[in-house]
C-alpha cells in the first residue's frame, strides 16, 4: 500500500493571527542580525507590538464568521480553528500585548529587566568586556513572539503531534527568557535550568502518552481518537494510561499539584516581566489545550479519567492556598497563588458543561489581566542601597519591604490592591465574577463537594492577599527611618499596562455581561 501525499489546503485567512505573530518573530531575528545597534530596539518594539496588535485585529476580523459557522478545520486537520480556539488566541494575543509593554519598559537610566548580553557567563571576563563596550542584545522580543505564536497554536492543535510541537515552540523560548534577568543572574539561570529540565521531563511524559494513544487509536488526530473511544474495545489500558500521561504534560504547564514544584522557584528567579507573561499566557494556552482534550476526547471517559482531575483540582486549590499563606517573598507568594488559581480553573474544566467552557475562558482572561498587572507592579518596586543617594538596585521582593508602600505611592499600591482583591474574588472585581461563573458551572455539572472545597480555599486565600494590603496601607516600614524601598521612574509603558489591567479588572467586575455573552457565543468545540 503506497500512501499518497496529498498537499493540504492552506487556509491563509484563518491562520493569519498565528502567521502575523510568528512572522514578526522571524523578522525580529533578521533585525537582530543585520540592523545597527541603535535601531534594533525601536525596530523590535514596532515589530513586536505591531505584530501582536495586528494579530488581535485579525482575530476580531475572524470573529463574526466563526460565531456564524462554528469555525473550520485547517491544514488537513492539524489545527482546529473553532470558537474556543479563536477566543483563546485573542485572549493570549491581548494579554501578550499588555505583557510586552511591561517587558519593553525601561527605567530612567535606560535599564530594562534583562541582561544586556545574556549569553555571557555571570561574572566572566566576557561579560565585563561586553559591559564596557555597551553591547546590548534585544533578542527577548523575537523570543517572546515565538513563545506567543506557540501559545496561539496550542489551544487550536487538532492532533497530538501539533500539540507537542506547539508545546515546545512555546516552552523553549520561555526556558531561555527565564534565565535572562539583569539582576540576581545566578538565581535567574538556576530558574531557567530547573524549568528546562523539569519541562523536558514533563514533555517526555506527554510524548509517551501520545504514543500510547496512537497505539490505541491508530491515529494522532483528536477526532479519530474520539471516534475510537466509542468503537475500539480491549485496549482500554492504553487509552487510559495515555490520556493520563498527556494530561500530566498539560498539568505541568499549568502548575497543578503534584506537578507544581517548579512554579515558585521559576517565578521567583525569572525576570519579573517574564514571570507575569508566562504566569498569564502559558496558563491560558495550556488550559485551552486541556479544555479541548477534556471536552472533545474525554466525555466518554468521564468515570475513568475525570476522578483524577477532580482530585488534582481539589489538591491544587488546597496546597496552593495553604503554601501561599506562609510565603515571605512576594513573587513566590504570587507563584503559589497562581497554583491555587490553576485549581480554581480546573474546577471549571472538569464541570463538563457548556457553561464550563465559557467560565474557564472568562476566568483565564481575568486571571491573566490581574497577573500581568500584579507582576508589573512588582517589577517597579525596588530596593535602594543604604546611605544617602543610594543606588536603586534589584526588586524589593521581600514582603517586609512592602510595608507602608501604600502611603508613599497610593496610586500604584491602590492598583496592586485591586489585583489582589481580584485574585481573592472580592465582589465588584473581575475575579469574583470569574470564581462565581466557574463554581456555578461546577455546581451545574454536579460537582458539589469540589465547589465547597473551592469556596473554603478561596475564603482562606483572602488572608494572604489581605495581609499584603494591610502591610502596604496599615503598617509602618520597620527599621531605620529612611525608606529602603522605592518605586522606579520608567518610560511609562508599565504604567500603561497596569492602567489597562486595572480598568479592565474593574470593568469586567461591574459589567461582565458583554464579555461573558461574547465568550458564550463561541464556546463550542468542533471535533
Amino acid at each position: 500500500m503506497t500512501a499518497q501525499f496529498v498537499a493540504p489546503e492552506i487556509a491563509w485567512a484563518q491562520l493569519l493571527p498565528v502567521i502575523l505573530v510568528l512572522g514578526a518573530g522571524v523578522v525580529g531575528v533578521l533585525v537582530e542580525a543585520f540592523a545597527p545597534q541603535r535601531l534594533r530596539r525601536p525596530l523590535q518594539l514596532v515589530l513586536a507590538l505591531g505584530g501582536t496588535a495586528a494579530a488581535i485585529v485579525a482575530v476580531a476580523a475572524l470573529w463574526p464568521q466563526t460565531v456564524a459557522d462554528g469555525g473550520t478545520v485547517v491544514l488537513g486537520g492539524s489545527m482546529v480553528l473553532d470558537g474556543p480556539a479563536l477566543a483563546l488566541q485573542g485572549v493570549v494575543a491581548a494579554l501578550g500585548l499588555v505583557g510586552l509593554l511591561v517587558i519593553a519598559d525601561r527605567t530612567e537610566t535606560g535599564e530594562d529587566a534583562f541582561a544586556p548580553s545574556a549569553a555571557a557567563v555571570p561574572g566572566s571576563d566576557y561579560e565585563e568586556v561586553a559591559r564596557r563596550r555597551g553591547l546590548a542584545q534585544t533578542e527577548i522580543f523575537p523570543l517572546v513572539l515565538f513563545s506567543l505564536g506557540g501559545m496561539m497554536i496550542f489551544p487550536a492543535a487538532g492532533d497530538l503531534l501539533t500539540l507537542f510541537v506547539a508545546l515546545e515552540v512555546l516552552s523553549l523560548p520561555l526556558y531561555l527568557l527565564a534565565g535572562m534577568a539583569r539582576r540576581r543572574r545566578l538565581l535567574s539561570q538556576e530558574a531557567s535550568l530547573k524549568y528546562f529540565m523539569l519541562g523536558a521531563f514533563a514533555s517526555a511524559f506527554f510524548l509517551f502518552g501520545a504514543a500510547l494513544l496512537y497505539g490505541f487509536a491508530g491515529s494522532v488526530r483528536l477526532s479519530d481518537i474520539t471516534v475510537a473511544v466509542g468503537s475500539v474495545t480491549g485496549l482500554d489500558p492504553l487509552l487510559i494510561a495515555g490520556s493520563v500521561l498527556v494530561l500530566v504534560g498539560l498539568l505541568f504547564k499549568v502548575g497543578a499539584v503534584p506537578f507544581h514544584a517548579w512554579t515558585p522557584d521559576v517565578y521567583q528567579g525569572s525576570p519579573t516581566p517574564i514571570t507575569g507573561f508566562m504566569a498569564a499566557c502559558t496558563k491560558i494556552a495550556a488550559f485551552g489545550a486541556m479544555l479541548r482534550l477534556v471536552y472533545v476526547v474525554m466525555p466518554g471517559l468521564e468515570w475513568d479519567v475525570m476522578p483524577v482531575l477532580w482530585g488534582v483540582a481539589a489538591l491544587t486549590m488546597v496546597v496552593g492556598t495553604v503554601a501561599a499563606i506562609v510565603q515571605t517573598d512576594v513573587k513566590r507568594m504570587l507563584g503559589y497563588s497562581s497554583v491555587a488559581h490553576a485549581g480554581f480553573i480546573l474546577v471549571g474544566v472538569v464541570a463538563l458543561t457548556q457553561s464550563g467552557i465559557t467560565s474557564v475562558l472568562f476566568y483565564l482572561l481575568v486571571y491573566g489581566l490581574a497577573t500581568i498587572g500584579a507582576f508589573a507592579v512588582v517589577a517597579l518596586v525596588r530596593e535602594v542601597n543604604a546611605g544617602p543617594g543610594g543606588a536603586v538596585v534589584a526588586e524589593a521582593t521581600h514582603l517586609s519591604q512592602w510595608a507602608g508602600l501604600g502611603r508613599r505611592h497610593p496610586v500604584l499600591a491602590g492598583s496592586f490592591v485591586l489585583f489582589l482583591l481580584s485574585f481573592a474574588g472580592i465582589p465588584l472585581t473581575a475575579g469574583f465574577i470569574g470564581k462565581f461563573t466557574v463554581f456555578s458551572a461546577a455546581v451545574e455539572g454536579g460537582l458539589w463537594w469540589l465547589v465547597v472545597v473551592g469556596v473554603l480555599a478561596s475564603a482562606a486565600a483572602v488572608f494572604f492577599y489581605v495581609r499584603l494590603v494591610v502591610l502596604m496601607f496599615f503598617t509602618e516600614p520597620a527599621g531605620p527611618d529612611a525608606p529602603t524601598t522605592t518605586v522606579v521612574r520608567t518610560d511609562g509603558l508599565s504604567q500603561v499596562a497596569i492602567g489597562v489591567a486595572a480598568v479592565a479588572t474593574v470593568a469586567l467586575g461591574v459589567v461582565p455581561g458583554p464579555v461573558l455573552d461574547a465568550l458564550g457565543d463561541v464556546a463550542v468545540f468542533i471535533p
Partner: protein
C-alpha cells in the same frame, strides 16, 4: 408543622413583586448619592479637606430625603403594589446562569433605608465635631459614605449575589473604620479580628448561595422564594443553617460573637452607626428576608431561635462585668440582637417584631453610643466607668439624652423599648406550636434577659452619671499617677448635642408611635404576610407585670450597688463568674482552641513550607514554623532531582488510581 401553615400568606404575598414604576425607578439614587460622595472625597484628596465633611453629610442627607420620599409614595400605594423590583442592568450571564442587578423596594427594605440614612446622617453630623481635630477627617467621611452606600445596597438588593456585594462592602467599610486609627496596634489587630471572624460567616453565605443556586438555578429573591415553597426540606434546612452562619458572623451571634467587643477600638461614631444601629443588624435582615426559605425549614428556624436566646443571655452576662463603657454597650448590642434573632427564629409570628425592635434599638442604642462618645470627649477619652461618676452635674444634656436611651432599653413604658421588647417576650411565650418546651424556655430566657439587661444598663448609667466622682482633679488617691491628666468634664459642642437630642426623642416616642394600632406590623404585611398571633402560654398582663417587676428589681440592685454605695476605682477580683464574664466568657480562648490551633496545625503539616526561614507575621517579625522543618527541606528544597521524583510519584499515583478504578 404549624409554622409552615402560618406562613402561607407570607409566601403568597412575598412572591409577587411588580416592576417598579414612577418614582421608584429612581431608587438607585439612594446608593448612588453616598457612593458618589465617597468617590469624590477619596479622589479629590487633600483639596477637599476644607469642605469634605459637609459633602459627606450632604450625600447621606440626600439619600435620606430620597428614602423618605419613596416611603411617603409607598404609603399611598395600594397594598398589592408595595413590592417593586427595579431593574438596573444585566450583570452576570454565563450559560444557564443569568443574573440581573436590581433593587427590591418594599416596606422591609424601606424601613432599613430610613433607619440607615436617618441615623447615618445624624452620626455624620456628630462626627463633624467629634473628628474635628483629626488630620484625616475627610478620609473618615469618605469611609462613612462608603459604608452607607454598601449598607443600602445590602438591604435593597434583589438577589443573594447582589446582597453579598453589599455584605462584603459593609465588611470592608467596617474594617477600614475600625482600623481608622491604625497607628495604634490594638486597633489594627481588632480590625483584623473583625475581618477574620466575618470571613467565617461569609463562607456560610457563599455556601448558602451555591446551595440555593444548585437547587433553584437562580439566586434572585423572586425565583428562589417562589420555588422554595414545596422544595426539599433537607435542602432548605441546609441553606437556612448556612444563612444563619452568615448572619451570626455579621450580627455577632454565638459562636461568632468575639469580634464585636474588640471592634470598639474604632472611633465612637463608628460604633454608634455600624456596631449598634445598622451593620450588625444585617444578620436579622438576612433571616427575615429569607422567610420563605425558613418557612420550609422548621429545624433551621428553631436553631435561629436557640442561637438568639443563647446570645441574649451570653451578651447580658458579659455586660454585667465589663468596666469599659463602650464594651458594655457592645455586649448589650450583642444581647439585644439576640432578642431580634430569637424573634426571627419564632417564624412568621416574630418576624415583624424582630424588625420593630431592630428599628427602636437602632435609635436608642445609637443615642447611647453617641452619649458615651460625648462622655469620652469631655473626659480625655477615658472609657473606664470606674473612673467616671457624678458626671450628671457637668454634662446635663448628655445625662438627659442618655437617660432616655437607658429607660428605653430597660423597657419602661412608654419609652420605645417597652413596645418592641415586650412584643418579643410575649411572642416567645407563644411559639407557633403553642405547646411543648419551646414557649416556656424561650419565654423564660427572654424574661430573665430583660432583668439582667436592666441590671447592667443601670450599672452603666449609675456608674457614669451618678454616685461619687472618681476621676482625678478633686480626688486624692494613692493609685493616681503623677502624669495622669486632671479631668475637666464639660458638655460637648452643639453639633454633637443635637444628634443626641434627636435620637433621644426617638428613644422616647418612636416605639409608641409605631406600635399605635400595630401600624408597623401592618406596614410590613405586604412583605411578610398577615399573621394571626397565637395566645401566649401565660396571660399577657402577667407577662408584662413579671417583666416590669424583674426590670425594676435589676435596676434597684444596680442602684444599691453602684449609686448608693461607693464604687472601687480598681475592679475587685470578683467571683468566678465575674472574672469569666470580664474575659468575655473565655470566647477568645475557645476560638483559639477550636479554630486557630487546628488551623495552624493544618498549615504546618500541609505546607511543608519553604526552604527559606518562614516568617508568618506581616510586620516582618520572624516566626519560625517549627516541627516539620525536616519535611520542609525534603519537599521544597530547590533540588531538581527531588522535584522530578515528586512528579514521577504523582504520575505513578495518578495512573495507578485510574487503572485501579478501571479494574
Amino acid at each position: 408543622m404549624t409554622s409552615a401553615l402560618a406562613s402561607v400568606p407570607a409566601a403568597a404575598a412575598a412572591g409577587s413583586a411588580i416592576p417598579a414604576t414612577g418614582v421608584f425607578e429612581y431608587a438607585w439614587l439612594l446608593i448612588a448619592l453616598p457612593l458618589a460622595g465617597a468617590a469624590v472625597l477619596l479622589l479629590a484628596g487633600r483639596r477637599s479637606d476644607a469642605w469634605g465633611h459637609w459633602l459627606g453629610v450632604l450625600a447621606s442627607g440626600g439619600a435620606f430625603v430620597v428614602g423618605a420620599l419613596l416611603t411617603v409614595v409607598m404609603m399611598g400605594a395600594p397594598l398589592e403594589e408595595r413590592v417593586q423590583d427595579v431593574h438596573l442592568f444585566d450583570w452576570i450571564t454565563a450559560g444557564a446562569f443569568d443574573l440581573a442587578a436590581g433593587l427590591r423596594v418594599d416596606p422591609l427594605s424601606l424601613s432599613f433605608v430610613l433607619l440607615v440614612t436617618f441615623v447615618g446622617t445624624l452620626v455624620h453630623i456628630y462626627s463633624v465635631s467629634y473628628m474635628e481635630h483629626d488630620a484625616h477627617r475627610r478620609r473618615f467621611f469618605a469611609y462613612l459614605n462608603l459604608f452607607i452606600a454598601a449598607m443600602l445596597l445590602l438591604v435593597l438588593a434583589d438577589s443573594y449575589v447582589l446582597l453579598f456585594v453589599g455584605w462584603e462592602g459593609v465588611g470592608l467599610a467596617s474594617y477600614l473604620l475600625i482600623g481608622f486609627w491604625n497607628h495604634e496596634k490594638p486597633n489594627a489587630v481588632a480590625a483584623k479580628k473583625a475581618f477574620v471572624v466575618n470571613r467565617v460567616g461569609d463562607v456560610g453565605m457563599l455556601v448558602a448561595i451555591m446551595l440555593l443556586f444548585a437547587a433553584f438555578g437562580a439566586t434572585d429573591f423572586e425565583t428562589v422564594f417562589s420555588l422554595a415553597d414545596g422544595a426539599n426540606e433537607a435542602l432548605l434546612t441546609a441553606a437556612g443553617l448556612m444563612l444563619l452562619l452568615a448572619a451570626c458572623g455579621k450580627s455577632a451571634q454565638f459562636p461568632l460573637q468575639s469580634w464585636l467587643g474588640d471592634a470598639m477600638a474604632g472611633p465612637t461614631p463608628v460604633s454608634a452607626l455600624i456596631h449598634a444601629a445598622t451593620m450588625v443588624t444585617a444578620g436579622v435582615y438576612l433571616v427575615v428576608r429569607s422567610a420563605p426559605v425558613y418557612a420550609g425549614a422548621p429545624t433551621a428556624l428553631l436553631v435561629v431561635a436557640i442561637v438568639g436566646a443563647f446570645t441574649l443571655l451570653f451578651g447580658a452576662v458579659i455586660g454585667c462585668a465589663k468596666d469599659d463603657i463602650k464594651k458594655t454597650l457592645a455586649a448589650s448590642t450583642m444581647s439585644q440582637i439576640g432578642y431580634m434573632m430569637l424573634a426571627a427564629g419564632l417564624g412568621p409570628i416574630g418576624y415583624a417584631f424582630a424588625i420593630f425592635h431592630l428599628i427602636t434599638h437602632g435609635f436608642f442604642k445609637a443615642g447611647m453610643f453617641l452619649g458615651a462618645g460625648s462622655v469620652m470627649h469631655g473626659m480625655h477619652n477615658e472609657v473606664d466607668m470606674r473612673r467616671f461618676g457624678g458626671l450628671r452635674r457637668y454634662m446635663k444634656i448628655t445625662w438627659i439624652t442618655f437617660a432616655a436611651g437607658w429607660l428605653a432599653i430597660l423597657g419602661i413604658p412608654p419609652f420605645s423599648g417597652f413596645w418592641s421588647k415586650d412584643l418579643i417576650i410575649e411572642s416567645a411565650f407563644a411559639t407557633a406550636s403553642g405547646e411543648g418546651w419551646q414557649p416556656w424556655v424561650f419565654g423564660t430566657v427572654a424574661l430573665l434577659g430583660a432583668g439582667i439587661t436592666a441590671f447592667y444598663m443601670s450599672r452603666l448609667f449609675f456608674m457614669t452619671f451618678h454616685g461619687t466622682q472618681r476621676w482625678p482633679g478633686h480626688r486624692v488617691s494613692q493609685t493616681e499617677t503623677v502624669d495622669e491628666p486632671v479631668q475637666d468634664p464639660h458638655e460637648s459642642p452643639a453639633l454633637m448635642m443635637w444628634p443626641m437630642i434627636i435620637l433621644a426623642v426617638g428613644s422616647v416616642a418612636l416605639g409608641g408611635v409605631l406600635a399605635f394600632g400595630n401600624a408597623f406590623e401592618r406596614w410590613l404585611d405586604p412583605v411578610l404576610g398577615y399573621t394571626e398571633h397565637p395566645d401566649p402560654v401565660l396571660p399577657i398582663p402577667v407577662i408584662i407585670g413579671a417583666t416590669l417587676l424583674l426590670v425594676l428589681l435589676g435596676a434597684f440592685l444596680a442602684w444599691r450597688q453602684y449609686a448608693a454605695a461607693p464604687v472601687a476605682v480598681v475592679a475587685p477580683r470578683g467571683s468566678v463568674l465575674t472574672r469569666a464574664a470580664r474575659r468575655d466568657l473565655y470566647q477568645d480562648e475557645v476560638n483559639e482552641t477550636l479554630l486557630m490551633r487546628p488551623g495552624q496545625y493544618l498549615t504546618r503539616s500541609l505546607v511543608f513550607g519553604d526552604r527559606q526561614v518562614v516568617d508568618g507575621t506581616f510586620t516582618g517579625l520572624a516566626r519560625l514554623v517549627g516541627g516539620s522543618g525536616e519535611l520542609v527541606r525534603k519537599v521544597q528544597n530547590g533540588y531538581v532531582r527531588s522535584y522530578a521524583s515528586t512528579m514521577v510519584a504523582g504520575v505513578v499515583v495518578l495512573t495507578a488510581v485510574v487503572l485501579a478504578f478501571r479494574i
